[in-house]
Symmetry: C2
DNA sequence: CATGAGCCCTGGAACCACTCCAAGGTAAAG
DNA sequence: CTTTACCTTGGAGTGGTTCCAGGGCTCATG
């Protein structure tokens, strides 16, 4: 199979497969005389494994580490389990953060609507100045780049 | 004030301020003869406004648009309000996604623990293969790069 | 054989909001 | 004069793709 076939079967783009290869997550495939990548069935499984791990919340780097251990004859399962626990923690704290954000945003929108009612059309209502104040330093993003989950 | 002062007062790094300037979100400041940027009080407010807008969930690009309208003598408030509604929608759908993810992750971890119990130490438990299946295409990330919220 | 459609190749830029770096200049204190 | 702390610039890095230009290949039809 050529890259397009594999891509279709694994529900990713051909670019994504080449990307994984560049990062060393997929072994270098055989090539035709024209330089085309040629894959076998097992390749679909490897791509899907990576996708599943990403959806779970692992980073490509982590997946690469696990796969590296495995290729070296090791058994990464304990590491995988530990990393999974961290993913869960991160998600839970994100949910808390987002929930708090949502509440604050709702309040802000309500405040804005009132302000807009009190402001004649064409006049500035200064909504941006009415944003909640910065009272905590904006340290550390924690979003690891999760994709839309079909986790459940 | 020099850039470091402004940065400290607005709780951001000097790099961030230069970044905003590069993007046109902050006006080009006056310079000393040595080329140092010099700011007045109002600059702190401008930086904080941007930070507040980011925390709310707007992108720098959006903030730039709003500020551009304003600088052109316009009144972006209606646009700001509409964009705010979209931010709320996005956050709510993220919360739903993350909650579903969390549940699935918990299940997966439980499955893994059982598997690990049944697997002799040093043997592969194949946790990665036991990840939930890819049944939906992984289209579209939606994470807009939100930072840790102190929204409430 | 020529043409076109559809696939493939490579290396690199783009996304976002920064962050960090090198390599150098400046200011103020001891 | 030295040290320390600040400042300057342009550019690269983060993550997980996606998209692009500019070219080559394959196969089917005219």
């Amino acid at each position: 199979m050529r890259i397009g076939q594999i891509a279709k079967r694994a529900q990713v783009s051909a670019d994504t497969i080449r990307h994984y290869e560049r990062l060393g997550l997929l072994p270098n495939p055989q090539r035709t005389s024209a330089g085309y990548r040629m894959y076998d069935e097992a390749a679909v499984g490897r791509v899907r494994l990576i996708q599943n791990a990403l959806r779970f919340g692992f980073s490509l780097k982590q997946v690469g580490t696990f796969l590296g251990v495995r290729r070296a004859g090791g058994v990464p399962c304990r590491n995988v389990r530990a990393a999974g626990a961290l993913v869960l923690e991160a998600i839970e704290s994100q949910i808390l953060d987002l929930t708090a954000s949502r509440d604050s945003i709702k309040e802000t929108l309500a405040k804005w609507d009132q302000r807009l009612l009190e402001t004649p059309e064409g006049q500035p209502a200064h909504l941006l100045e009415a944003l909640p104040l910065t009272d905590t330093p904006p340290r550390g993003s924690q979003i690891t780049g999760r994709r839309t989950g079909q986790h459940g």
